[in-house]
Assembly symmetry: C2
Homo-oligomer: 327 residues x 2
């Protein structure tokens, strides 16, 4: 049988009100009474039912998180940062994906309407940005983990894409490279434009191949550039998957990395240290983005004001063998 607040009250010879006060405010209760109540709570091993507390208080001490897919290479880091922060605050984390398409979205929307959580963290909302924006307008606290430069109409955490692109260019330039091929993700992402602009400001180039954020894109872009006889001594790939494809194509073509062509990626996913050669890349602080977003949301739930401009976290150059410091 479940132990309830009524059991505690009876055992301690007080009212449920008093037990509740000991549990929550702590104040306004005689210290002797409080001690006795705490003792009984301990002995019975009483823990308030989260459902009942939620119903009475109108909040669930739970936050929701919506992601398109959990298997994207850097998603685990984001999620770990979120979970750590949310747990440390005593909140629960309810996880949702858009992975099964419309059905997923319906399930998610239902949980929102059912008030299953107090606030929402979102990653890459793709086709749901409008829905999310509407939910936010209707009062749901929302924070976006914005690795793609969506710049939504609600609080978000982003990263220094422009500075990251510039850092890649600066590194290549400093190591003596001058003729760059850039392989990007889809141009309609803000992050792609920013990374490209930042790069070209330091190391101008017209050799730009647009594609998806995939290994195939990188492979194809390099094959094509080589077939067309393009002249380049370095590649800036807009993420590490693209970079992996670039490395493969260069290897197949007999170009040595980094001797003939230096390669820089973006993200620093776990794979980056295991490619051959290991990948120099611009690290996105995914775990810290998750932590920061969670902290913002929790602050908002606690009634603190949260910034409406994006909170921007710095990227960081990670040097490995695909583009060493000298040479």
């Amino acid at each position: 049988m479940r132990v309830t607040i009524a059991d505690v009250a009876r055992q301690a010879g007080v009212s449920k009100t008093t037990v509740s006060r000991v549990l929550n405010t702590g104040a306004e209760v005689d210290s002797t009474t409080a001690a006795r109540v705490r003792e009984v709570i301990d002995v019975l091993g009483y823990v308030p039912s989260s459902g009942a507390v939620g119903l009475a208080r109108g909040s669930s001490r739970t936050i929701g998180m919506l992601t398109p897919s959990l298997t994207w290479p850097w998603m685990s880091e984001v999620l770990q940062g979120v979970v750590d922060t949310v747990e440390a605050a005593g909140y629960g984390l309810l996880l949702f994906t858009c992975h099964r398409g419309a059905d997923s979205v319906r399930h998610f929307a239902g949980q929102v309407s059912a008030r299953a959580f107090d606030g929402l963290l979102v990653v890459e909302p793709e086709n749901t940005l409008d829905t999310i924006t509407a939910m936010h307008r209707r009062g749901l606290p929302v924070v976006l983990i914005d690795d793609r430069g969506h710049q939504p109409a609600f609080p978000s955490v982003a990263t220094t894409n422009r500075a990251g692109g510039a850092a890649a260019a600066g590194h290549l330039l400093a190591s003596g490279r001058g003729r760059a091929l850039v392989v990007t993700g889809r141009r309609d992402f803000g992050c792609v434009r920013e990374r490209l602009d930042g790069f070209r400001e330091i190391l101008p180039t017209d050799l730009v191949a647009e594609g998806e954020f995939t290994e195939q894109t990188g492979h194809l872009a390099v094959r094509r550039a080589l077939a067309e006889g393009r002249d380049f001594d370095c590649v800036f790939a807009h993420n590490d998957l693209i970079a992996a494809g670039v490395l493969r194509a260069l290897r197949e073509a007999g170009r040595r990395v980094p001797e003939d062509v230096a390669v820089v990626g973006f993200d620093d996913i776990p794979m980056a240290r295991h490619t051959e050669p290991p990948l120099t890349t611009i690290r996105q602080p995914m775990r810290r983005m998750g932590e920061t977003a969670a902290r913002l949301l929790l602050a908002g739930l606690a009634g603190e004001p949260i910034p409406h401009e994006p909170v921007v976290l710095p990227t960081e150059l990670v040097v490995r063998r695909s583009a060493p410091a000298h040479g």
Copy 2:
């Protein structure tokens, strides 16, 4: 203002009881009445509060999942399988980790006592197996995703470790290899003993290096074996991280893969297709293990009997260049 069941009842000119019946059983209600109620529900956009339903019914339609860390290479696949299955059943997924140590465990235990979820999925319980077992005995439905051969006292989903080891040996043997080095994880894991036994049954060897499931272990084991002048023409690494370390050590020593030494890993994590050369490995069906575990748990919650023996899913040989079919 939140729309409640009372609002619907008033608008439809019926009692809350009737609305509830339309919502849940569907039966025992006059079809005209039911239609009217549904209409009102639609118009008002009414969705029952999950908290209130949970309290009244004594269950939350939510399942919990506890993992040590979310950043392990194959964890995303497990999680995706779980989320898909749980969502499709209309349940929510509450995620917990042991990532922050004792504090995490306390938070988790609190949520269990608070009846925040109806059933629990666990991955690799390390130091919490006793706690979990106790919770299961007290009535919490639990299913373990058992990739390590823990064989707990409650339902679990495992994989064919022994057959996987045998498949690795068979593949190497068939491609003409005969002198094997095996690099394992910790011997106290059931999966390690099984993989080793399965392998040696087909391809006997005394060259076995025990370590952790890490890149360093693989690197060190090969360096040591080479330094000691051991003679081997193939390596069976007990997971893909170890295999990555093996590849690196072989490359550093100037041994060609697969010409001089063929390498087979275990798991098929995303990285496996990006090593140089890409890794032949024994694939563990992590996503299906997640799906299966979730399905078992949901079946249990629905009152269906669930098997007490482990449900065992087959591994699968994935051939890539580090150990091709011929040669």
